[in-house]
């Protein structure tokens, strides 16, 4: 059943994209290779021809999830006159809460990944965290470089924590309150011109 080179590449892309979505939706260990390949429109047959192991795919899927999210954010930021508010409102939102499969890999998979001892995977998450901190450091207003980095780290933690919390809380009112409170709090605290609300 040999297929053309471009088909091979398309299949490979589709498997990675599918994995990036399903790992975020169901957890890294929440989806098996058989179902994953099936969701990508293939049988599990050729998996180990394309990937060294499931751990190998996990790393590539995590990277893909990040680059997709990253490009989306970059686009929104470029088109905005208040990049930080744009980022916060996009990240800490009910849309993001309700669609983990297209959302941030940190909120969706960090707790899972922390339990994996795969060094490549952990290293990958390390870079992602660094990149997020770097992005936020650039967007956070005023102060010394050190103060900006601190504010960025705190903001990132608060953003991720709010999404994780909002996803586990079943009461829509409380879940929504968490989203609204944190997004408003972050926007206010880092307001463009440091007016005090």
């Amino acid at each position: 059943m040999k297929v053309s080179k471009e088909t091979v590449e398309q299949n490979r892309e589709r498997v990675i994209a599918t994995a990036a979505r399903l790992f975020r939706e169901r957890g890294i260990d929440g989806i098996g290779l058989v179902d994953l390949m099936k969701a990508a429109g293939l049988t599990p047959g050729g998996f180990y021809r394309q990937f060294k192991s499931k751990d190998d795919l996990i790393v590539q899927a995590v990277k893909r999830a990040y680059t997709d999210m990253s490009e989306d954010i970059a686009g929104r930021i470029a088109a905005s006159d208040d990049p930080l508010e744009t980022l916060v409102r996009h990240y800490v939102s009910d849309y993001h809460r309700d669609d983990p499969g297209q959302g941030c890999g940190l909120a969706a998979m960090a707790a899972d990944a922390a339990r994996h001892d795969n060094p490549a995977l952990r290293e990958c998450f390390g870079s992602i965290v660094s990149n997020y901190i770097g992005l936020l450091t650039k967007l956070v207003p005023g102060g010394t470089a050190k103060a900006k980095r601190s504010a960025a780290i705190s903001a990132l933690a608060e953003m991720i924590g709010s999404v994780v919390l909002s996803r586990v809380v079943p009461d829509p009112a409380l879940s929504g309150e968490i989203i609204d409170t944190v997004s408003n709090d972050l926007v206010k605290r880092h307001a463009k011109s440091s007016r005090t609300a």
Copy 2:
């Protein structure tokens, strides 16, 4: 192999305590009933005599994890003259980061639980989040009740996010920076007498 009533209760307690630890360490789906019972010093035989299902045990273990953590915190707070700082320094710490098995169930299991459709489990996490918010609302200084609740929600999100992030980052320097930055930031922002650092 019938045993005395007190032995039964001891066994049951041990299973729940073991589950509360292992679910936090390995994830809710990261430990099977056979290994779990073995870790509790039993065989899987009598499991379904004591628990309706694994989901049933999960709920009880999550509750146990919370009450244990909650009592520990209550004790520390009662013995402190700055309860909020005590709580923050205890929660956002390298000890907590490195010992998820005895730590906060939200940081360890919320992402897992959000993917389970077990209503009892979700409801359980809902109450836990509410309780944490209630506790923090009492500890946060000054302002209106509404402002205090908002500050509490933001603080909880930041605390949980920081622990999740610090656990997944493999570089000890960055992981420690996250812990230090967030704990200092929270303590400063909610300083007892609202001095501006």
